[in-house]
């Protein structure tokens, strides 16, 4: 009974705090501008099925795809076991499903056992790749400190989780022969049927009972810890990958979003639409983005979904030739800046108000900093708009879009930007060509 009450209290707290953190993330993502998803809904669902659920884009690189696949599928299946643990914990029963679903039970438990073992293999190899082989894409400058620690913490939690599962199942198998009344027969288990007796055979019943409970508790507590750790970790992708893929803009990759305000102004300047249709008095908004509030919320969702895997940076022509630009860093910076703004808003910092008389909201926010304090101009200037990062990202993040939005801010709102570009701009404006040339466009015909 006491165990049940403790369990209910702990689960309640775990879900409550996790829910609060997820709500906060939702709010932070909404710092971004409104944006209505365009394009075909069936196309989006297809992406969710293939890219998010089916991990299609991971298979550009086979080895990590297979290893990650083990952990992913194990994660999916373990959810069934977690439901059982919750039922057992709340009602004080043991292996609730064992007697309820007949032959399916051993099938499910065996599947989980095999997948857990494969996940363990994957986890160990990932730890080795990260820490011993030191894969270059996992050791770029933006990965120093917390991001590297974050990745290792989760891998170690995974090992803890799998060990708990095998302790729980292994002792259970041994106990089934000692006390069949309380430990219903699960049938032969792929791993625990031999690992259990090998490790725990010959132990006293009380030790076995203790170990079985320990395995059970460590398992569920690790899951709760994981749930509450997700929101501050790159592992948030296991949840956000799904909405992120759904909301990914479905348009041609070569197309930049149109800016209707500027289009209409130019059209009215050229006398193509009557001036009455354009409100010339209206204060022109700032163009482009110098902060999270001017990005689309999809861009911010992208940032929170980023797994920091570095596939984008690994193929970025600017980064691989030693330039400072790293598309992964762009996404991480957007996330960190958004988190900073939301934290200041939550604290109600008065010195972050634009207008001291109004409440502190995202519209009334100014802390004297901007996204340019995180992402330098040198970085955004190096982008060739090649779309390699967009193509490479396994969860359909688009790092190119915020880069271009920041370029627009720099040129349109600050009238700054690389001076090399100025002759190109004036030349297009004056002579309709990227180069200031006196010749006619038809001279090549002469020969």
């Amino acid at each position: 009974m006491i165990q049940q009450i403790i369990f209910i209290l702990i689960s309640g707290a775990a879900f409550f705090f996790a829910f609060r953190q997820f709500a906060k993330i939702r709010q932070t993502i909404n710092l971004g501008k409104d944006h209505t998803p365009t394009g075909d809904a069936s196309e989006r669902w297809k992406n969710v099925a293939l890219v998010a659920f089916g991990q299609k884009k991971m298979f550009k690189r086979w080895i990590p795809a297979v290893l990650h696949g083990f952990i992913y599928v194990a994660f999916l299946f373990t959810q069934i076991e977690l439901i059982e643990i919750l039922i057992d914990g709340i009602f004080g029963v043991h292996r609730f499903f064992a007697t309820k679903i007949g032959f399916l039970y051993p099938v499910i438990i065996n599947t989980i056992e095999i997948l857990s073992f494969l996940a363990l293999v994957g986890t160990v190899i990932f730890l080795i790749r990260r820490n011993l082989i030191k894969l270059p894409r996992l050791h770029k400058s933006e990965m120093k400190g917390w991001p590297t620690k974050d990745a290792n913490i989760i891998l170690i939690l995974e090992i803890l989780l799998v060990s708990a599962i095998f302790t729980m199942n292994g002792t259970d198998v041994v106990l089934q022969s000692i006390d069949p009344a309380h430990f219903p027969d699960t049938g032969p288990l792929a791993i625990s049927s031999w690992l259990g007796p090998a490790l725990f055979g010959g132990l006293s019943e009380s030790t076995l009972l203790f170990l079985e409970r320990a395995g059970w508790w460590v398992h569920i507590l690790t899951v709760f810890a994981f749930l509450n750790y997700l929101p501050v970790s790159k592992h948030l992708h296991i949840l956000l990958a799904f909405p992120n893929v759904y909301f990914a803009k479905s348009k041609s990759r070569g197309e930049m979003d149109n800016m209707p305000e500027i289009m209409n102004e130019v059209k009215s300047m050229m006398g193509l639409i009557p001036e009455s249709e354009v409100d010339m008095e209206a204060e022109l908004p700032e163009f482009g983005a110098n902060d999270v509030m001017e990005l689309d919320w999809v861009n911010v969702l992208n940032a929170f979904t980023c797994t920091e895997c570095g596939r984008c940076t690994d193929v970025c022509p600017a980064n691989t030739t030693g330039k400072k630009l790293s598309p992964r860093k762009v996404m991480m910076d957007i996330r960190d800046r958004a988190t900073e703004i939301q934290a200041n808003i939550d604290l109600g910092k008065i010195d972050c108000k634009k207008d001291a008389d109004k409440p502190l909201t995202k519209e009334n926010y100014s802390d004297g900093k901007s996204l340019f304090d995180y992402i330098t101009k040198e970085e955004i200037h190096a982008c060739t708009t090649c779309n390699a990062c967009v193509e490479a990202c396994p969860v359909m993040i688009n790092p190119l879009e915020p880069i271009l939005a920041m370029r627009r801010y720099e040129i349109l709102s600050e009238s700054a930007g690389p001076s090399d570009w100025v002759p190109m701009f004036t030349s297009i404006e004056n002579s309709g060509s990227v180069w200031q040339l006196p010749d006619s466009r038809e001279d090549w015909i002469q020969e």
Binding site: M263, V266, H381, P418, S433, E442
Partner: protein
């Protein structure tokens, strides 16, 4: 085009020459090669000549939406004025902007890249080659970002190359994983940011690694970048960079 309009006739297709194709000495050769092929295939085409302006691609990607809108809207006025339906261009940047970005501004055309157009001419039997000049030679193909990843066209240019009986050797980074030449996003018009290496050097090294003596491309800016890279490696006498249309005209 003005001539067609005066005569009240309509060409089958408008050839959008682009800034590079009009003014850049190297790209002019591609323009001429393509025009010769069109003439050989007896295609009734037109150009806008001095009525054509930059599509605005580099200005837009640099962030200058005003300049983009001005030149784009002017082009759309011209194109709509002549009631143009079909456009072919030898530049993937022009192709992308005309095809994907002009519709939002009121310019809707059927736009195709010259590699697609040439492939169609082969399929329709309007074009054939003797397969002489490059027969059996090792050729590698460089995917431009704006034809490839931006618009998903990878196989058409390769099919075209097959017509020439060449031996196609792929670089390690090709198709969806193709490496940029370094020119896009208005990089063509500015100095590189500080780094260890130029992007075109990286790409040229990869191309040289295939042992090919011809690099086939589909974009005037790629051609400039790769040619510069080859010169920097002092290999210009051993390896040639050609647009696919130039390979075809040399085989006809």
């Amino acid at each position: 085009m003005a001539q067609h309009a005066a005569e009240g006739t309509k060409p089958e297709v408008l050839f959008w020459v682009g800034c590079a194709g009009s003014f850049d000495a190297r790209a002019q050769k591609v323009t001429k090669a393509f025009v010769k092929i069109l003439n050989a295939a007896d295609i009734d085409f037109a150009i806008l000549g001095n009525e054509e302006s930059c599509t605005g691609d580099p200005a837009r990607r640099a962030g200058n939406e005003f300049v983009f809108q001005m030149t784009a809207i002017q082009n759309i006025e011209t194109l709509n004025g002549y009631d143009i339906k079909n456009i072919v261009t030898a530049c993937p940047h022009c192709f992308n902007t005309l095809k994907n970005e002009y519709p939002a501004l009121g310019g809707n055309y059927n736009v195709i890249h010259h590699t697609q157009y040439l492939n169609q001419l082969f399929t329709d039997g309007k074009l054939s080659v003797q397969g002489g000049a490059f027969k059996g030679r090792k050729v590698t193909y460089h995917d431009s970002c704006y034809l490839g990843r931006a618009n998903g066209i990878y196989e058409v240019p390769r099919e075209l190359l097959k017509q020439l009986d060449i031996e196609l050797v792929e670089m390690k980074r090709c198709k969806t994983n193709g490496l940029c030449c370094g020119a896009g996003g208005a990089q063509m018009f500015k100095e590189d940011e500080p780094g260890d290496k130029r992007i075109n050097t990286e790409r040229v090294e990869e191309a040289l690694g295939t042992g090919a003596d011809v690099v086939a491309a589909n974009c005037p800016f790629c051609i400039t970048m790769l040619s510069d890279g080859i010169k920097a490696e002092e290999k210009q006498d051993e390896v040639a960079i050609y647009d696919i249309s130039e390979l075809i005209i040399q085989s006809m």
